[in-house]
């Protein structure tokens, strides 16, 4: 890993390219006021910042109000991003048609959701049903009354608790608007109220926009099932046309993959001297596509520049979120073409082809051809690191239940439940389960925290589910191979052998943390124990984006303790620090545990899990 980084640094030096490592140096030291969350730029009386001699802003807002407002605006940003992704997919579902670019791949899932939402299905064309479901989904963003439909999937305890605390989210857009309004100059200054609204906004992401993103993607592109793939920069091929897909929304990339498999496109690539077209993914677009097609993963967030630095990428096509603006100038250092496709993500130095679901396949063909035409422009100086690892990915909730079914005994058990998993947890064969999610962050060594924590957990019989950049870190480290059972404690190892799974389950992209919510909810229901009491926790060791804070909030509000390896930017307010760690625990039974040392963080995680076991008497 370090060796690869060095190789790529040399490539960057030769090409005169700048990378995040250079910029990180230039940005150090970072602004202390920003880091502590006590710089207020919300009105033009400011900016104000809290110092020992200035304990209040001009309007009188104290450190708690300022840090609280900044924090909850962070959440709103994350919720907006995730939920808008969900909305885009809903729009694609709304224009799906039998002979169009986008068809219904998981009819059963659509029918289940139609039933859940009271949409008639008898004697109706499946596309008519799909369009009605999509419309109802879209209404969830702006409906004037009531709370979100998906909340009814939660356990009764949670629903009741949210109701009592008045944090059951209303329309998704409304929660985001409420945050913006509450934090406007001269509105809420009470940190606790801000934290409560933060949870409500987060919940509208997890149990709203993200869940819709996941469900509608499954309906359109198929619910993932276990599939083999490979991960790391070594998946790039030196004699093929390499196209990188990057971002989060799978709609465009689904078409890029389809186009790259068309025989005339392959012929075209050959006519240009390449062996074929190789698609490799970055970030969550990679997760989405690999879960459904086994498309290889070039890497995660902080590897996006590394992929370009190989000099072997003909084209990078991006959709939304986590795309470095630096890709514009960086791709100019090589022959690489840079294509943006969404109004949401417009970047200088890119060619913009606006995604249109009606003509997406043709657009995708054009983009792939553009890459093929660019193959001949590839320079002679290429450097593809040879590292890659095999991985089994694609563990949707449905796929997990299917694996669990294989360890049931038909004479005593029922099929289609999480009971076998509950039995493993209850008996102590598995000590607990942890969802490890989130990004990379230059504040810590890339992937190191993810990997160290995962290894320690599985050695302690704690099963791990992952999404997002964490999933890719695990895949690159070989932890998603079935052979990784050898790194596990005896209990988890036996579970892996009997259920034929790797110890670290890839559950998808960052919107797919909604799958983890459903998994934990399913376990809670099967066990009849409230989520907050289960030996199950969440962890974001290297998080950086606003989305991560939104996620952390819905995870906590759903009753799951969340361990953070990067400090949220509220340190300047003791009250805020107290609120996000212990304060929420009093309200929803869970909070943040923060430690920037991954080894200490995982130790406290294991202790936390054991404490929950002791409390349950198991």
């Amino acid at each position: 890993m370090e060796q690869n980084a060095q190789l790529l640094r040399e490539m960057a030096a030769k090409a005169g390219a700048e990378t995040w490592e250079d910029r990180k140096k230039n940005q150090t030291p970072q602004c202390k006021f920003g880091e502590d969350g006590i710089c207020c730029r919300i009105c033009s009386m400011g900016p104000c910042r809290i110092t020992p001699k200035a304990s209040k802003g001009i309007c009188g807002a104290d450190a708690h109000a300022i840090a609280g407002r900044n924090y909850v605006r962070f959440i709103a940003g994350g919720t907006a991003a995730h939920s808008d992704h969900g909305r885009e997919i809903a729009h694609v579902l709304h224009v799906s048609s039998r002979d169009g670019n986008y068809i219904i791949k998981d009819e059963q899932k659509l029918l289940r959701l139609a039933k859940e939402w009271g949409v008639a299905t008898e004697d109706r064309d499946i596309y008519e049903v799909a369009h009605e479901v999509a419309e109802i989904g879209l209404m969830e963003y702006g409906k004037p009354f009531g709370t979100l439909r998906y909340l009814e999937r939660a356990t009764e305890e949670r629903q009741k608790l949210w109701e009592e605390l008045d944090i059951a989210p209303r329309a998704i857009d409304r929660e985001i608007a409420t945050v913006m309004h509450m934090t406007h100059m001269g509105c809420t200054a009470d940190a606790e109220a801000l934290v409560m609204q933060g949870m409500r906004t987060g919940l509208s992401d997890g149990w709203g926009g993200s869940m819709m993103g996941t469900e509608f993607s499954d309906i359109l592109f198929g619910t993932p099932t276990p599939i083999e793939t490979e991960a790391d920069l070594g998946v790039l091929e030196k004699d093929m046309v390499n196209i990188i897909i990057h971002g989060h929304d799978p709609a465009m990339s689904e078409m890029i993959v389809a186009a790259s498999n068309q025989s005339d496109i392959i012929d075209y690539a050959k006519s240009k001297g390449a062996r074929g077209v190789n698609i490799a993914g970055l970030c969550c677009t990679a997760n989405e596509i690999t879960m459904r097609h086994g498309v290889k993963m070039a890497g995660n967030f902080l590897q996006q520049e590394g992929a370009i630095l190989t000099g072997a990428v003909e084209l990078i096509v991006v959709d939304v979120q986590c795309i470095f603006p630096s890709l514009g100038p960086l791709t100019k250092c090589f022959h690489t073409k840079f294509v943006t496709t969404s109004d949401i993500t417009r970047i200088p130095g890119s060619e913009f082809i606006k995604f249109d679901p009606i003509t997406a396949l043709d657009q995708a063909r054009d983009i792939v051809k553009m890459a093929i035409d660019n193959y001949q422009n590839r320079g002679s100086n290429i450097c593809i690191p040879q590292t890659k690892q095999k991985a089994v990915v694609g563990y949707s909730c449905e796929a997990i239940i299917k694996r669990l079914d294989t360890v049931t005994n038909s004479h005593v058990d029922e099929l289609g439940t999480y009971k076998p998993l509950v039995e493993c947890l209850e008996s102590g064969v598995l000590r607990g389960a942890v969802g490890i999610v989130g990004c990379n962050n230059p504040k810590v060594r890339t992937d190191y925290s993810h990997i160290e924590i995962i290894k320690e957990l599985i050695a302690n019989d704690i099963i791990v589910v992952t999404t997002g950049c964490s999933a890719q870190a695990a895949a690159k480290a070989g932890l998603m191979q079935k052979e990784a059972k050898e790194l596990c404690g005896a209990g988890l190892k036996r579970v892996c052998e009997l259920a034929d799974i790797p110890p670290v389950l890839h559950m998808g992209s960052c919107v797919d943390i909604s799958r983890i919510l459903m998994l934990v909810t399913g376990i809670s229901k099967a066990w009849n124990v409230d989520i907050a009491k289960l030996p199950i926790v969440g962890c974001a060791p290297e998080w950086m984006s606003e989305k991560a804070v939104s996620i952390a909030n819905y995870v906590v509000a759903s009753g799951i303790d969340t361990y953070l390896g990067i400090e949220p930017q509220v340190k300047g307010s003791a009250q805020m620090m107290e609120l996000i760690t212990e304060g929420t625990r009093k309200m929803v039974g869970a909070g943040f545990i923060i430690n920037t040392d991954p080894h200490k963080l995982v130790k406290s995680m294991i202790e936390g899990i054991e404490a929950k076991r002791t409390a349950l008497g198991i």
């Binding site: 025989s263 360890v407 049931t408 099929l415 039995e423 198991i618």
Partner: protein, 709 residues
Amino acid sequence: MTLIDRVFRGSDEMYELAVKATQEALDKFGADKAVSFPETAYSLPCLYSFTAKKITTLGELSAALEDIKAMMTRERRVKDVFSTGIATALSAEVIEAIKYVMEDNPYTGDYCGHLSDAQIRELGVPLVTKDIPGVAVLIGPAPSDEEAAKIIRDYQSKGIIVFLVGGIIQQAVRSGVNMNFKVRILPLGEDLSAVAHVISVALRAALIFGNVPAGDYEGMCKYTFERIFAFVNAYAPLSDMTVACGGGAIALGFPVITNETENIWRIPKSLIVQENTEAFVETSLEARDIKIKITKVDVPLCLAPAFEGEIIRRGDMQIQIDGSKNNCFELAMAKDLTEIEDHKIVLDGPDFDAIPEGGEMSMGIIVEVGGKAMQSDFEPVFERKFHNYLNCLEGVMHTGQRDMIRIRVSKAAYAAGFRAKHIGEVLYAKLKNDFESVIDKCQVTIVTDPDKVKELRFNLANPAYDKRDERLKSLTDENVDKFYSCILCQSFSPSHVCIVTPERLGLCGAVSWLDAKATNELDPNGPCGVVTKGGLIDERVGKWEDVNQSIRELSHGALDAVTLYSIMEDPMTSCGCFECICGIEPFSNGVIIVNREHGGMTPLGMTFAEMASMTGGGVQTPGFMGHGKHFIGSKKFMKAEGGVARIVWMPKHLKELTATRLNATAKELYGIDNFVDMIGDETITEDAEALLNFLTEKGHPVLGMEPMM
């Protein structure tokens, strides 16, 4: 009190007993007193397996107690449960060894105690061949003497070797169960510590047959987990010591099935609570994935491949089930395991007796199968076997498939007592035996009520067939990620390899891509292997590097390359069992196709047999190629040479058979309507020149195509 605590506590108890017994023996005989089990080269085999120490004296045994103690680690993890559980078994072995110190022959009368190495070696072969499909360890007393006898005999009747520990032994004695090594029922001893003798058997198997080095903890557990199909039935109430022994059993991979409900925790496939002790047998077999071979099929007729070709003439016929006259069908359906009651055979409607001699009846045969590795893609594979299975019955003839079946039962078979439900018995037994890796449970319903058969045919069977056809139709060579090889015919054509793709089935006509896929998944080392699609060399002729690689390996170097879509460039080889052969017709620049059933002459001046002799035997003969009938309508047929437009002549019968698909393909590829009418047949001419005139008259597209040679 958690499960882990119970294991720890039980282990401490057993250890204390071992310490006490050792001390008593030491006090009585001193440290130099010899310690051994009779007729074994492995000293105290359990201790030897895990510590690599051969104990010979009481002094050494006393020292070994420290080794045992060291294994009783106390972190709260499964590894501690496992090693503590195994330490419990070692403590038990110490206790048992002391018995052999205290008395020359501690086990007499009803009990057998330690087993000799010779006995274990005798068990080796039947365990490997699965003649002994499993090893049951019963720790009890059972709820009653009768139940004890019943479960022991049930296991015995399935060929499973049974080890008994505790009160169940006297229950068996009272019930008159004959127990000894020959009948494979072994009453080990009354005390729980006697379980050491069966663990000793498993571990010596690892030492003797597995060559696992003594002291290799992981190796021992891996061997027993993967190769010794043992399980434990422990009757309630369970003491902590029994739970601790259970921990050891699970460490070795042996699931424990118990009816204990107090203070117990369920663990999938490892610790199973079955409150109904009468269901212990079935529950245990499933828990340890033990499949029992059915050796006796309950039918009054002979069942053997020798009867496969037997014809039942109308005059000999008692009853006929004929899909062309009455509603009939046969259907295999994959179901959830919980929806199936294994070996349930139901007759719904009148039996053969209700029909006068020589009469006809409706029949729907529904076979529902379930299993953890089941896929609905396997259904047609099972269903096609019905034909072979029923034909193996003496006096029963079966032809056709789906809702076009015909079954005849002879008068002799009827007189011998053959009735409708026996069809179910045969299908049940044969399917379960042939597909034991995927069929865990199977039930058969024979419907003969004419109204019900009609209803099921149109509402159940036909939609199921349609769905399968739909699935097959949706598959193309482009949209799958792998092909399959088939070398079923290599037994008589050693270098022939078929590459089966969605659009090109095997040349025998019997192996579609889905069939090959299912065959591969049912038996990955069987005749069908996966061929990846990597390294496309030439899409026009269908040439892939990976395909060539497979061909080279599977033909043992006889072939270097094949194309999937050309008959001129490296065409696929033929064995001898192709349904059809096509060959170049030089006058028209097209090809003729003849099917095996056609005995007459062709415009090439050769019959099917003569043409067949040109190819076959696994050699490539450009211009000639064997293939399946279904391939004729495929868009990939001779794609490299221009596709189906090359076909100029076929026997009339074959034209009729393939017309629908062929016309559709020609319409799609060239926009030609009723293409089949442009193709010659034997009623038009068998002469090459006359054929050319016919083709010219019809405006056959081949005449405008590039020459093939």
